[in-house]
């Protein structure tokens, strides 16, 4: 007897919300990617809880593939961020700040 499934869902929902806040409000590509990781982790928590609730391994298998997708996503995303930083000198997602190193007057 641990806790009702709704409490596990509430925890996953709150963690997902925190990841969403991070992705929406931060003006930094690295921290936005960090928010995506938090959201994927919240989905994994909900899936593992559902796996225990229905006594089936499908949820755990899906959580396993979420880990795979997260690993791929973060490696490719960070490679893209390094590429963007190399060409623009900034990790700000806003377009008006992109060309700042070339013409500081703008």
């Amino acid at each position: 007897m641990i806790v009702p499934y709704s409490h596990i869902l509430a925890l996953a929902g709150i963690v997902f919300l925190l990841g969403m806040i991070c992705t929406v409000t931060r003006r930094n590509l690295i921290l936005m990617l960090l928010g995506l990781e938090i959201m994927l982790n919240a989905a994994a928590i909900a899936l593992v809880g559902a796996s225990l609730r229905w006594m089936a391994m499908d949820g755990q298998a899906m959580a396993l593939f979420i880990v795979v997708v997260a690993a791929g996503e973060v490696s490719l995303g960070l490679a893209l961020i390094v590429c963007v930083h190399r060409s623009t000198g900034s990790v700000d997602p806003a377009l008006e700040n992109r060309s700042a190193p070339e013409n500081p007057s703008a």
């Binding site: 007897m1 869902l9 960090l34 982790n41 298998a61 959580a63």
Partner: protein
């Protein structure tokens, strides 16, 4: 309240608190380190919820590989410290509206469902879980390996050094 539910609420508090600290840090190294603690808490939670294999993977891949990759990138790139307000008001208002709506939907969805029916304790042993995954989801395992290969090739192509003649064209 059994000892297991006490552990669950303790872990939930640790996860939510460290995640909230991580997303409000201005220093990215601090954010990443707080998030490592959060992922350790998630790993313990997976262990409590009967997934020891996923708990090990969470520590190895999430807290180990992914967060160390983030740390490397944060240290490698020279990112100027932003002087602006952490959450500007222009972004705060839509975020607050989304938060309130999301929390209302969450509370409406999960309030009352099975509140008097706690989940039972069970453990999916790693051997049984692996056999199940390879029996039932062998195609998905192959697709996942292809995905990782494509990601590897993509990261190599994107991250390769720019040749001098290519920069001359620009």
């Amino acid at each position: 309240m059994t000892i297991y539910s006490a552990i669950f609420y303790l872990l939930a508090a640790v996860i939510v608190a460290t995640t909230a600290l991580a997303i409000t840090r201005r220093n990215m190294v601090h954010a990443v380190v707080y998030l490592v603690v959060s992922f350790f808490g998630s790993a313990l939670l997976f262990y409590l919820l009967g997934a020891p294999f996923l708990a090990a993977l969470e520590v190895i891949i999430y807290a180990g590989a992914i967060m160390v990759l983030f740390l490397f990138i944060v240290m490698m790139l020279r990112i100027e410290e932003s002087k602006r307000q952490l959450f500007p008001l222009r972004q705060w208002i839509p975020a607050a509206v989304i938060c309130v709506g999301y929390l209302a939907v969450l509370a409406a969805m999960i309030s009352g469902i099975e509140a008097d029916r706690p989940v039972q304790i069970a453990v999916a042993l790693p051997a049984a879980f692996s056999v199940w995954v390879f029996r039932q989801g062998w195609l998905v395992v192959e697709v996942a390996s292809m995905l990782l290969l494509v990601t590897l090739v993509g990261a190599l192509v994107i991250g390769r050094p720019v040749k001098p003649d290519e920069t001359a064209d620009k």
